[in-house]
């Protein structure tokens, strides 16, 4: 069985990486090299393109293959040139959320429209992380960042919806918590002929501490954010077990937890929720009774259903459409130039 050392020796260079401890970028690289290894691809024919930002460092210089580290927002355009000219290059583009959906938004939607055979992995840590954590087109409304000290006045894109509407023929969304699904999705995306897009919610212990108001020791952040992703997402088309609610505390989550644990027939623990902050997850049946009892508690301000405010992950689109480089080759045939 291949262990991580095998993947490291074969696919990774320039260690230790420049990533902060616990960076989601490292996990994505981990999933990426597993995917290309599982597919048995010729490493010499893989081209990894990136823009500017932390995500751009996932392939460059960490990936031991051809890499093209370009200008901010433009990775997809560079990749279009390389991939069009050389159809043998399996081209994977790593963009950030600001890099890919902000400054690079135009190139993103046009590549989707063309349905050019590229795989774009958009690493979404919900801010411009490398430059200090400014608001990005993906930052949730109301979040505190260095350029939204009074709360973000804007609301984020639904990027998968945007890219789907633009014409992408494979669209998926995962998080760095969902490593197995992500690895499989990367394999599907690369194999898929056409514009494949995967948005990955990614942890940034350095900036998300402020954005999600995650108080506590810095050391605890990487696993904590992963758990927050697990708690705050729901995978579409999976059977939903439910059976729990979230009690939003009035003041201290610890005080609320103490009161809730005194209730009969419930399991309670404090969790981080991307939209509601530090809340108490309460498992118990029947739910409406539990909900009613929670609302009577002095320490609870409101009760959210288990699916409220959750981010949907999964596969959003998989279809066949005319692919751009195929169309160009057809033109060449028509013109008699093949």
């Amino acid at each position: 069985m291949k262990n991580l050392k095998y993947y490291r020796d074969r696919y990774v260079r320039r260690q230790p990486s420049a990533f902060c401890p616990g960076c989601g970028g490292g996990i994505i690289l981990n999933c990426f090299v597993r995917a290309i290894d599982d597919l048995g691809l010729d490493k010499d024919k893989i081209l990894a393109v990136s823009g500017i930002g932390c995500s751009a460092w996932i392939p460059s210089p960490n990936f031991n293959g051809d890499t093209l580290h370009t200008t901010h927002g433009r990775a997809i355009a560079f990749a279009t040139g390389a991939r069009t000219f050389n159809p043998e290059l399996t081209t994977v583009v790593f963009v950030g959320d600001g890099d890919g959906a902000g400054i690079g938004g135009n190139h993103l939607i046009h590549a989707a429209r063309r349905n050019i055979d590229l795989t774009v992995i958009l690493v979404n840590n919900m801010s411009y992380a490398m430059t200090g954590g400014q608001i990005a087109p993906t930052t949730l409304h109301g979040e505190t960042t260095v350029t939204s000290p009074y709360g973000n006045p804007e609301s984020p894109f639904d990027i998968t919806e945007l890219v789907r509407a633009a014409g992408a023929s494979y669209v998926a969304k995962w998080s760095t918590y969902h490593v197995v699904e992500l690895t499989r999705s990367i394999k599907e995306a690369i194999t898929h002929k056409g514009f494949s897009f995967i948005e990955v919610l990614s942890q940034c212990p350095t900036q998300q501490r402020r954005i999600f108001n995650l108080r506590g020791p810095v050391d605890s952040l990487p696993p904590r954010i992963l758990d927050m992703f697990a708690e705050s997402t729901v995978v579409k088309d999976r059977p939903d077990r439910g059976g729990y609610v979230y009690a939003v505390p009035k003041a201290s989550p610890e005080e609320a937890l103490k009161q809730i644990q005194a209730m009969d027939g419930v399991d309670a623990k404090i969790v981080d929720h991307m939209r509601y902050g530090r809340v108490v997850r309460v498992d118990g049946e029947p739910l409406d009774v539990v909900r009613g009892k929670l609302l009577e508690l002095g320490t609870v301000s409101e009760v959210k259903d288990h699916l409220d405010g959750k981010i949907t992950l999964g596969l959003f689109e998989k279809k066949t459409r005319p692919e751009f480089t195929d169309a160009l080759r057809e033109i060449m045939r028509k013109a008699g130039g093949e």
Binding site: F19, G26, N30
Partner: protein
């Protein structure tokens, strides 16, 4: 700068006489596994400790030692069950699970 990787390996005797299946991962634990932290690469993010606790054998623990990069060094304090969740999550390719051949 050149450093030799300092690895910490711990071997444990199997205490079971027949295979026990881990219901989470269907891994036959009659095989022996050893988990190694490469402290040249480990940054002490402790994700491996967390996933080992949540889903694995719960044997990786933070120690009071530091890695070469200055983070908290995780240390195996028990028998690795070979689930490899630590390997799937490590952002720095710094933890390896190996199957040990019976002595």
């Amino acid at each position: 700068m050149h450093r030799r990787a300092v690895t910490l390996t711990v071997l444990f005797q199997i205490s079971h006489s027949k295979p026990i299946h881990n219901p989470e991962r269907c891994v036959e634990t009659a095989k022996k596994f050893k988990v190694t932290i490469d402290e040249d690469k480990c940054k002490g993010c402790l994700i491996c400790v967390h996933v080992c606790e949540q889903r694995g054998g719960g044997i990786l623990k933070p120690s009071d030692r530091k890695t070469a990069l200055g983070g908290v060094k995780p240390v195996p304090m028990g028998e690795c069950i070979g689930c490899r969740w630590c390997e799937r999550y490590c952002p720095d390719f710094a933890v390896y699970v190996e199957e040990i051949q019976d002595a």
